[in-house]
């Protein structure tokens, strides 16, 4: 099993709120890997909208994304993109 961790500063203008959070969860759910998002001492299941919202990740916050599973690498790349883009496009 691959396990990858990556520290990222959120550049998305809304932070991980509202639509970006929904997008993050939608994308996370496309992968088999387990995904955990950590902010300080708090952590949440990356596939849970409520978990992500409860982390209250504002713009400029540093988070740690962990992915564990066969497709962990791809998952990290895809999720990182959402967090780094200022205005990510919604996937339908």
């Amino acid at each position: 099993m691959r396990k990858i961790k990556k520290k990222i500063v959120v550049r998305n203008k809304q932070g991980l709120h509202a639509r970006p959070a929904a997008l993050f969860v939608q994308v996370a759910n496309k992968f088999d890997a387990n995904i955990v998002v950590r902010k300080g001492t708090l952590s949440a299941n990356g596939k849970s909208i409520m978990g992500i919202l409860m982390l209250e990740v504002g713009p400029g916050t540093e988070i740690l994304i962990e992915a564990e599973g066969e497709d962990a690498g791809e998952a990290i790349v895809a999720l990182e993109k959402i967090v780094l883009e200022e205005e990510p496009e919604l996937i339908r």
């Binding site: 709120h17 509202a18 929904a22 969860v25 949440a44 299941n45 596939k47 849970s48 909208i49 409520m50 978990g51 919202l53 409860m54 209250e56 883009e85 200022e86 205005e87 496009e89 919604l90």
Partner: protein, 588 residues
């Protein structure tokens, strides 16, 4: 009212969520949560509880999808979107796992665990500072109650099957409740909780149902069948009104309906003063989808067609064909009326990711609008070419945003000539007489409007930026919002100067900022000689009404008088007084 006549009149004050006045009998919907008992279960019961939970989830999902389908057929897809949030909650991994794992560990009925888990989430979300997150509470609550109702096998009062016209009273209405309301049977609604920007309030507005929210105890004060007055304009609810109160409101309602009807009757009439002076009332739009509303409200054309949305939320740039198709559609739908297309106005507060515009400290004064287009002639030419090609199918005009000097205007016109030349070479026809205008929104352009007037066919005054630049007031900064004064004597003089120099050069002037849509300023702008008012579609009838109720000499007198005042306050006071004389029914 019958036997309720002896009950006392009670007035409650809440938050006005959707305008209008409604009167009728109260219909209380059961919003209290069904009683859930804390009952321990045995190990053998666990699989059964889990499968009951799973069944309820499937039922709930089905139910949400049905409502969503119904709403997107009857209303817009935008409203149906709320239910995507509900589905996300319903499918949430953390939530589902928590219910199941606690069920296994604590061994209580699934109803009890579910209610407890939902309660916990609501508690966490209500502690958050963010308005958006706070509003998610209603999504979580809504979904939780739905699942619970399926578990218990209890159905909520069905609002779609109401037989008489009622005013719905509830502790809280979920967006899905409001979505199921029909205008024919629901006269209005009032709730204990909720805010002005909640989904529920937004829905009520789009359904045009008067509503007051945040009344705290209304669901406890009201009994089924009580007579209610809902004043959605002021956020007031009156329970069992006395005769005289009722009479007062009935009169007000008649006046309100009469006024609305009169406005509707204005649709096909021109904006003409009592002494026969005509101006044009046109609309601002962002997308072709708004055209039905433009026509329904009686705007005789489009004075500002913003084109930024083409460039937003996408990875590539819009092609000439794509733009051509959209401009053509708008031209055809609006014909024979004119459509003024504003060329790309990016920057300031409008950004696109694919263009890689660097971060700026002062974006409103930065690399934006025409400045950007002149630096990227490839993007600019694509748009100009699309507009020119579409110009054969109706009456199109184009205008450049943020012109600050003559060189910019000449340079833009030079590029336009190149595009025209290129089309001629390719034997593609276009309207050779296509009118070209400049937006006047930078003080320097306003000062030299006499010079600029020689290069264009018309001006369009963009008041939002003109005011912000002239008064040095960032319009997004709340701390200095009080300084953002459209009626500042300096702004009046600037507008007068623009209109006067345009007219002496023989060109006409429109206005497409917020100011043109403020009823209060209509007599003043008319008197200053403005030829075209471009406003949001819904305000068109009211503006027509004002213009049709006065004479041009009256307007000129008002404008003259306004120019003698030294403060914005005096000007506003004077305008309010005058407007009341002209159209007493208008609310300002």
């Amino acid at each position: 009212m019958g036997n309720e006549i002896n009950r006392e009149e009670i007035t409650l004050k809440g938050i006005p969520a959707s305008p209008g006045i409604a009167m009728g009998p109260a219909f209380l919907i059961e919003t209290e949560e069904p009683a859930v008992h804390r009952r321990q279960i045995s190990d053998e019961e666990i699989p059964n509880e889990i499968s009951r939970f799973e069944d309820a989830l499937i039922q709930t999902r089905k139910e949400i999808l049905e409502i969503q389908k119904k709403i997107s057929e009857e209303m817009s897809s935008e409203h149906a979107e709320i239910f995507n949030a509900h589905l996300l909650v319903l499918e949430d991994k953390m939530f589902l796992e928590e219910v199941i794992s606690r069920l296994r560990k604590e061994k209580f009925t699934v109803e009890y665990i579910l209610v407890d888990v939902i309660k916990k989430y609501i508690k966490v979300f209500s502690r958050m500072d963010d308005e958006y997150l706070k509003e998610r509470i209603s999504d979580i609550d809504d979904v939780g109650k739905r699942i619970l109702r399926h578990l218990i096998g209890q159905q909520r009062q069905d609002l779609t099957k109401l037989k008489e016209k009622v005013i719905v009273v509830a502790y809280n209405l979920s967006p899905s409740d409001t979505a199921l309301m029909h205008k024919e049977s629901v006269l209005g609604f009032v709730t204990d909780i909720g805010g002005r920007t909640s989904h529920t309030a937004i829905m009520a507005k789009s359904l045009e149902i008067p509503a007051v929210v945040g009344l705290e105890k209304v669901s406890r004060w009201v009994k089924n069948g009580d007579y209610l007055i809902v004043n959605g304009n002021e956020g007031i609810v009156i329970i069992n009104p006395r005769e005289e109160t009722l009479k007062k409101y009935q009169e007000e309602l008649l006046r309100f309906e009469e006024f609305t009807r009169r406005l509707e009757g204005l649709r096909d009439l021109p904006a003409e003063t009592l002494d026969g002076y005509r101006v044009k009332i046109v609309a601002n739009i962002e997308s072709p989808q708004e055209i039905p509303s433009v026509l329904a409200h009686g705007a005789f054309g489009i004075g500002l067609y913003r084109t930024e949305y083409f460039y937003m939320n996408r990875k590539d740039l819009p092609s000439e064909e794509e733009q051509y198709a959209a401009y053509r559609r708008v031209a055809i739908q609006m014909a024979p009326h004119s459509v003024t297309i504003r060329t790309l106005d990016l920057g300031g507060d409008k950004f696109v990711s694919q263009l890689d515009i660097p971060y700026e400290i002062n974006p409103f004064m930065g690399w934006r609008a025409i400045r950007f287009c002149l630096a990227r002639p490839d993007i600019f030419k694509t748009q100009l070419s699309a507009i020119l090609r579409a110009s054969l199918d109706g009456k199109l005009r184009l205008m450049y945003p943020l012109i600050s000097g003559i060189e910019e205007l000449q340079q833009a016109n030079r590029i336009l000539r190149e595009v025209k030349e290129d089309l001629r070479k390719r034997n593609i026809c276009f309207d050779e007489n296509l009118e070209v205008g400049a937006m006047i929104e930078v003080p320097s352009a306003a000062m030299i409007s006499d010079i600029l007037a020689k290069e264009v066919d018309f001006f369009s005054i963009g008041t939002n930026d003109l005011i912000q630049y002239s008064l040095a007031v960032d319009r997004v900064n709340e701390k200095i919002a009080y300084l953002y004064e459209p009626a500042h004597p300096a702004i009046l003089r600037i507008i007068k100067n623009i209109i006067d120099s345009a007219h002496s050069e023989g060109i006409w002037v429109g206005m497409c900022g917020e100011m043109a849509g403020e009823v209060l300023f209509i007599p003043l702008l008319l008197g200053l000689g403005l030829d075209e008012f471009s406003v949001s579609p819904v305000t068109v009838p009211e503006i027509k009404q004002v213009i049709r109720s006065m004479t041009i000499s009256q307007a000129k007198e008002i404008a003259r008088e306004c120019l003698t005042f030294s403060t914005s306050e005096e000007i506003l006071k004077f305008l309010r007084l005058k407007l009341k004389e002209i159209v007493p029914e208008v609310i300002v």
